[in-house]
Symmetry: none
Subunit: 155 residues, 2 copies
């Protein structure tokens, strides 16, 4: 039994005519070991789908409770957006999930889906959009390296 549960790597899988996609095997292993489902929702900032374990969303709920007051407008807005949009997905015996039309449309996904690990979360992109996004990120980093320090190098 492992100690760490990170969504990693970039994996391209096909989306078939029925809207089915294989969830990367690594991701499935994590979900099985944690006995949790995944939850997906439209990214608030990018044309992609965002996913995480249901456990993490639970944590987000707690964080929001603690960070703003119960009746604040911000909290209202965030909870509506995230929880209202989030949907639970379970994979079938062959490891596939069926994404919804709404999610696919938001991410402009048609034939193939790119799973991008984000540690506690992951994202699902169209091939074209991810290509652009990765390029943007690498350009940005070139001019801003200091922000990438590893833990042991921190003061």
């Amino acid at each position: 039994m492992r100690k760490t549960y990170l969504f990693l790597d970039t994996i391209i899988n096909k989306v078939d005519a029925k809207g089915r996609v294989s969830l990367p095997a690594d991701y499935r292993t994590i979900l099985k070991e944690l006995s949790t489902d995944i939850v997906c929702y439209r990214s608030l900032t990018s044309p992609c789908i965002e996913g995480c374990t249901e456990d993490l969303l639970e944590k987000l709920a707690t964080d929001i409770e603690n960070s703003t007051d119960f009746f604040s407008e911000t909290q209202d807005d965030l909870t509506n957006l995230i929880f209202g949009d989030a949907k639970r997905f379970t994979f079938d015996s062959t490891g596939r999930i069926m994404l919804t039309e709404k999610l696919l449309k938001h991410a402009e996904i048609t034939n193939s889906a790119v799973f991008v690990g984000k540690g506690r979360k992951f994202q699902i992109w169209s091939e074209e959009n991810w290509e652009k996004e990765e390029k943007r990120l690498r350009e940005k980093i070139k001019s801003n390296r200091p922000s990438l320090k590893m833990p042991e190098e921190k003061p």
Copy 2:
């Protein structure tokens, strides 16, 4: 049981047609004692593969989570870049890992891989590139000696 876990030394191993390489025995010992896997990703600055324990990456995930909020742009960009590129590797009963095409290409590795210890991390280079890099580093040090201060001498 030892006290320290450092990736050291420079070891050259062959890469076969399938992309398999023996992980240096010393490295394997460390991983076994820490019960963790290694994670490899393309160096952001050099034509080489960089590796570390999954534990270290887990720590990084926690640090990022704590230093920025759930919806921050910085967190988004960083996590995509690091975790999206990182891939977990486990060695088989004969001590080998199978590097991916993407990583090998980035490091321009074909027949042999040079493992270079970096303490908590290590790098994997092609023989040609490492030869150049080592030369460059030694030249650089000659003209810039003061930057090599030990921790206790820091302000």
